[in-house]
């Protein structure tokens, strides 16, 4: 069996005997005595535990990425370089992000500050933070209860893209990738990270009960919140095949283990409706770990990617030792948190087809708080309007309205063949009540969900009058952008 092996603040660390579900945060504070990194929530919702991880960027290079260490299990950093807030100061000199934060009075109580500093570190090594809203997106994963954020925003604006010649720049330039592959056990727990599909099938033959994990942003909550100790996890993170992200047949192939930050960048020009959903999918730290496949395989009724991918007509591509099978994504979700995957199968790709001409497409996410929140209602809409101005096809997919992400079939039927007008939209809205009986919970009442479901369709019509797939404005008031 292998040992855990990674670099912590540039020093090689090798460990054995530690639980494979020990989080990096707990390891830092309790084993490495690096207490700068704080626990604020242990669920990726506050950012106080943010560290920087230097790892392969999926394009053959290395990237320095801000990540919540509270959701990061130790085997997930195998072969990678982990940096904590203690690594910022070099030779007794404070790093530019530290000086800037202090100068702007970006800390008051200071408990969120190490995490803020590490998110700023990623910001100062990013090259693409060229607009104010991107700074908000970079920093929204760090809750601060004291400052009201103005000084943190100002600090981010000052350091973004600076590209200092620091130890991180040197590491980015010099680091050679090391294998993530791992077969680890400690006590009754095991963790496998196979590097090839063949190796994966072998693990699955031996352990058909294995659970899959990639980013861990959902699964790790079982460890940090319910104190579970999953006996056997298989990480798909090292399987290069599943990292595909490319145009294909006029559409796109999206690998299941593509990080959401990668997909967000890719879709900005390639597939605007996807980008519109991913912007508020979660915080930067979460999107740096969360994957497309992970979001779909939890089969949560409020998983944000499902409605938009269903609207786009995506197909799920499922692999097993026996080969490949495909299905429309809406058929992938069979019930509350249940997918169509059988034992020995993995979700490998999403194939998004070429979009028909005359298509109008938008994705919406409505939540109590715009950033870093879970949907009350989400939606992906595509309506294809023919040359005569009539609706040729309607795909209206909703999240948060039923036990699984689902299409509003009755409403769709009511639209097809009708002229694409405000009156037609108003005429079918009542059908949404036949399609869905939403529930009341702490994210919203049944009344709110039903009302918003209708209003999103109203807004969709208004928004697509001038543009078939409008992008989000920089900073905006609401999910739906209509005057």
């Amino acid at each position: 069996m292998d040992r855990l092996r990674f670099y912590l603040n540039d020093r090689l660390v090798e460990e054995s005997g530690l639980s494979p579900t020990l989080t990096v945060l707990r390891y830092l504070r309790e084993r490495a005595h690096l207490t700068g990194t704080k626990e604020g929530c242990a669920e990726g919702d506050c950012g106080a535990c943010t560290v920087a991880v230097l790892e392969e960027d999926g394009k053959g290079g290395q990237a320095l990425r801000a990540i919540n260490s509270c959701l990061l299990l130790l085997p997930m950093v195998q072969g990678k370089r982990v940096y904590t807030v203690e690594a910022l100061k070099e030779g007794g000199r404070y790093h530019v992000v530290q000086e800037t934060l202090a100068r702007e009075l970006g800390s008051q109580c200071g408990y969120c500050t190490p995490g803020v500093a590490m998110a700023l570190l990623e910001a100062c090594h990013r090259k693409d933070l060229d607009e104010p809203w991107k700074l908000d997106a970079q920093m929204c994963g760090n809750l601060c209860r004291c400052t009201g954020y103005r000084p943190i925003r100002d600090a981010a604006a000052r350091v973004a893209g600076l590209g200092p010649q620091d130890r991180f720049a040197r590491a980015l330039a010099e680091t050679k990738p090391e294998p993530m592959e791992l077969a680890y056990s400690a006590g009754p727990q095991r963790f496998f990270t196979p590097a090839t599909l063949e190796a994966l099938w072998e693990v699955l033959d031996a352990h058909p009960e294995a659970r899959f994990v990639v980013g861990g942003t959902d699964l790790s909550l079982e460890v940090t919140k319910r104190f579970a100790e999953p006996p056997l996890l298989v990480s798909l993170e090292a399987l290069r095949e599943l990292r595909a992200l490319e145009p294909r047949a006029g559409g796109h192939r999206v690998g299941a283990t593509v990080w959401l930050t990668e997909l967000e960048d890719y879709s900005r020009s390639a597939c605007p409706p996807l980008e519109r959903m991913i912007r508020y999918f979660g915080a930067r730290q979460i999107k740096n770990r969360a994957t497309v496949g992970g979001n779909l395989c939890t089969a949560s009724p409020i998983g944000d990617l499902a409605p938009v991918l269903i609207a786009l007509g995506a197909e799920a591509v499922v692999l097993s030792r026996g080969g490949e099978r495909r299905m429309p994504l809406e058929d992938f979700f069979v019930d509350y948190r249940r997918t169509a995957l059988k034992r020995g199968e993995i979700l490998a790709f999403l194939d998004v087809p070429a979009q028909p001409s005359g298509a109008r497409t938008i994705a919406y996410k409505v939540s109590k708080r715009r950033e870093l929140d879970i949907s009350s209602v989400s939606a992906g809409f595509r309506v294809v309007v023919d040359a005569a101005g009539k609706v040729a096809e309607a795909r209206l997919a909703y999240g948060g309205m039923s036990a699984r992400p689902a299409r509003a079939r009755r409403t769709e039927e009511g639209l097809v063949g009708q002229p694409w007008t405000e009156a037609s939209v108003e005429a079918v809205l009542a059908r949404l009540e036949e399609d869905f009986t939403p529930r009341t919970d702490h994210r919203g009442s049944a009344w709110y969900r039903a009302q918003v479901a209708k209003n999103l369709l109203r807004g969709f019509f208004q928004e697509t009058l001038s543009e078939p797939s409008p992008r989000l404005q920089e900073r905006h008031t609401a999910t739906v952008q209509v005057r």
Partner: protein, 789 residues
């Protein structure tokens, strides 16, 4: 000492750091992870971990407890129940009240109440052991809401005075009948979790003499000391409490740090080992109290031109299961029912409901925001009905010249800066022009509407329990001229240490870098009050000044002799690390030369300082008095945009002009204003505490409880401090700043109402619940749109 490259201009040598921009004393330590919090302290050998077993029922009788199976697990050192407490099983914060047992005896009164305390070698082992502790309950009927409590007449009596607390002036009943316009209704404000980023934590270590030393994240180390001493049956001289710093407090660590500290101390006594108790986020949110929800019924009379003629209001707060500070919080709510407005005829009454919820507690504003919200709702409704600009209605009701400067409790509003703030802010924010533009925008926009509002705030400064207004300091100068500063206040991020260091450096005439602020400790400065009520700088600053003055006067003769002006010590000036006689510039001494000479001349270089606020007091029986040393003032103009499709909104721009007197450190005060405002916006918009039918908290982590995130801060945020506004009888003319700005956020509600009203016909009276979540706003929009029946 670290030089920080800064855009903030460094001060010329000869000037003091006082009233000048400065950095946070711990800023760089925060950014590097070097700042130590209680949970970061190196573990003492043999450290054990404590874990609270909390009641799973809102109300139940505890019929059986058995820890034998848990105790048989290797590594489990103790499972403590009420009967294991050697002293008093009581952690009630108010003298003379004994309604809060540390560990439940035979009845539990809320979910989250501590029933037992497991002590083991790791948190995992604690959880394992806790599952093996057998506890049997007989479930009793529970009262979960204010409404239920009113129905069942369940109130927490005031320990010393009759209920309800009534403040009355004039003849409100007659004035209401005569009033041309009546506004009647009810409103609620919700709970708010403190959501300090650092959860509750304490560590206890035994010392010689049967003594115990604690490191606690608390705003009130003296009360932790007192409660630990009582629980263990010790003298307070055997208990030492240190506070390195807090990762946020906001009132949540004023009284509610003490139980966890007492449990740690109790466990250390029982096991003879060091013990730490640290709550994870879910435990913290489930086991501690929140901002008091308030229900109010009001009846107000206005003239046709919007003058408030009479107000009657009944307030009931949700105290939770025990007293805690609920009555003092209720008092402050009643004191702030006027906000900045003269109420000619008024009666306000208040009671505290007893519910089976965790005991609600102090939270920035301490009832003030809840009281103020009521009068602001009344004024908003009046303005909507009368089709007047709500800012103008507010202006017409401001306190005026005597006798119309008397509050309902009889204190004169002296130095009223509200008219000045109003005038300056209206101009600088271009309120009138923007309001006109917004009306135009709204006329042309179907689905999105904007709103703008002006919000004034007046907030009384002092603990309303008058004897608490005292503070101490202990300043130590070493022979090399460096200084250690101890004061009774605690640092929770608000910048108190930064301000105290500035005052100390100013008084002694040394650079701030030569002054080190020590961790707050009960063996350095005894018998302190909580760092609360915005009073930290006011009280401790005066005490620091007093101590420094003693030391300076002792050093003067020494310096005078060295400067060859012996016998004329008053001519010596201490400034910027030097001592000199103005006009005799050829000879200057370094501060170090003076301190070395003082030491050699056998002069004591340590001194204490003490301060108490003069001339305040309040008679609750008559509802009259002067509870406050002075008032702090502020104003905000808030602009919002609302979606009529989803109920989402965005704060587009905020202009604040706030009165902090002559700011001790303006950069620190600006941070308090900005942060307080956003925290208030959170309370009033996105932060929603929800329970289920059994009283279980549904929002016990940031997954479901949403404090403002970065994108919720206004993109255009302009904060200014009122200039040329020194305050009399305060530390260097400054004013308190911690709490008042939070209430400026009520302006966001008024702005939302403006936008929501624009979805309806003219004179729409908006029905907006608090907090104004997207759902609450969408409901209000739908109601505004619905044709009147």
């Amino acid at each position: 000492m670290v030089a920080i490259p800064s855009e903030i201009p460094s001060q010329p040598e000869a000037r003091s750091p006082l009233h000048a921009p400065g950095l946070h004393e711990s800023g760089l330590k925060h950014t590097s992870g070097e700042a130590l919090y209680v949970d970061d302290l190196p573990a003492p050998p043999g450290l054990l971990v404590g874990h609270v077993i909390a009641s799973p029922h809102a109300h139940a009788r505890l019929v059986r407890r058995d820890a034998r199976r848990a105790l048989s697990l290797p590594g489990v050192h103790a499972v403590l129940f009420a009967q294991d407490i050697p002293g008093a099983n009581d952690v009630s914060p108010v003298r003379g009240v004994h309604d809060e047992p540390l560990l439940a005896t035979d009845e539990v009164h809320c979910i989250g109440q501590a029933v037992a305390f497991v002590v083991a070698e790791s948190a995992a082992l604690c959880r394992q052991a806790a599952a093996l502790v057998e506890l049997e309950y007989e479930v009793l009927p529970a009262c979960l809401t204010i409404g239920e409590a009113i129905e069942k007449s369940l109130f927490i009596p005031h320990p010393f005075y009759p209920n309800p607390h009534v403040i009355r002036r004039g003849e409100p009943e007659a004035a209401l009948i005569a009033a041309p316009v009546r506004i009647q209704g009810e409103c609620m404000t919700g709970a708010q979790d403190h959501f300090y980023l650092e959860t509750q934590v304490s560590q206890a270590v035994l010392e010689e003499d049967g003594a115990v030393r604690l490191w606690s994240s608390t705003q009130h180390p003296s009360e932790v000391q007192e409660k630990v001493a009582e629980v263990l049956g010790l003298g307070r001289h055997q208990v030492t409490v240190e506070v390195p710093r807090m990762g946020g407090g906001f009132g949540g660590k004023e009284t509610q740090a003490a139980p966890f500290a007492a449990l740690a101390a109790l466990a250390a006594y029982a096991t003879r080992r060091p013990v730490k108790v640290w709550l994870n986020r879910d435990q913290d949110m489930e086991q501690t109290g929140k901002r008091h929800p308030f229900w109010a019924r009001y009846d107000a009379g206005f003239s046709e031109d919007g003058r408030l003629l009479a107000l009657k209001a009944d307030l009931v707060s949700d105290g939770g299961w025990s007293n805690d500070l609920s009555h003092a919080i209720l008092d402050r709510a009643l004191f702030h029912m006027d906000n900045t407005y003269f109420l000619p005829h008024v009666e306000v009454r208040g009671r505290v409901a007893r519910t089976n919820q965790p005991s609600n507690t102090a939270f920035r504003g301490f009832g003030g925001p809840q009281g103020m919200y009521v009068v602001e709702e009344v004024i908003n409704r009046a303005a909507e009905r009368l089709a007047l600009d709500p800012a103008e209605v507010r202006r017409r009701n401001y306190y005026r010249e005597a006798p119309e400067n008397q509050t309902h409790y009889g204190q004169a509003v002296e130095g009223n800066r509200i008219p000045r703030i109003h005038a300056e802010l209206m101009t600088s924010s271009e309120y009138a022009r923007r309001r006109a533009e917004i009306d135009q925008f709204n006329a042309s926009s179907q689905w999105t509407k904007r709103g703008i509002a002006y919000q004034p705030v007046k907030f009384g400064i002092s603990f309303t329990t008058s004897f608490l207004n005292q503070a101490g300091a202990f300043v130590v100068i070493y022979a090399d001229g460096t200084v250690q500063l101890n004061h009774g206040g605690t640092e929770m991020g608000q910048g108190l240490h930064t301000k105290m260091r500035t005052v100390c450096a100013h008084e002694l005439g040394v650079p701030v870098e030569h002054v080190r602020v020590m961790t707050t400790a009960t063996d350095k400065v005894p018998n302190t009050s909580a760092t609360a009520a915005s009073s930290g700088s006011d009280l401790n600053g005066m005490a620091v000044k007093a101590a420094c003055e003693v030391l300076r006067e002792r050093m003067r003769p020494v310096a005078a002799k060295l400067l060859q002006v012996e016998g004329e010590p008053e001519r010596v000036v201490f400034s910027a690390g030097k001592a000199f006689v103005p006009g005799l510039a050829q000879r200057t001494l370094s501060f170090e030369e003076v301190t070395r000479a003082a030491y050699a001349a056998q002069v004591s270089l340590s001194a204490t300082g003490y301060y108490r606020t003069p001339d305040i007091g309040y008679d609750r029986m008559t509802g009259r008095g002067k509870p406050f040393h002075y008032y702090a003032f502020g104003g905000a103009v808030v602009e919002v945009e609302v979606s009529g499709l989803t109920g989402e909104h965005r704060v587009r721009r905020v202009d604040i002009l706030h009165d902090v007197g002559s700011s001790l450190v303006p950069t620190i005060d600006k941070g308090q204003v900005e942060g307080g405002f956003i925290q208030g916006v959170g309370w009033l918009t996105c932060e929603e505490v929800l329970i289920d039918a059994k009283g279980r908290l549904l929002t016990h982590s940031p997954d479901t409880y949403k404090i403002p995130a970065l994108g919720d801060a206004p993109e255009d945020f302009r904060v200014a401090l009122l200039e040329r506004a020194p305050q009399e009888d305060t530390i260097h003319g400054s004013k308190a700043v911690g709490e008042p700005p939070l209430m400026l956020a009520i302006g966001a509600v008024t702005a939302l109402r403006h936008a929501i009203g624009a979805f309806g016909p003219p004179r729409t009276e908006v029905q907006l619940a608090s907090p104004a979540t997207p759902e609450a706003i969408l409901r209000a929009v739908e109601t505004a749109r619905a044709p009147k029946r």
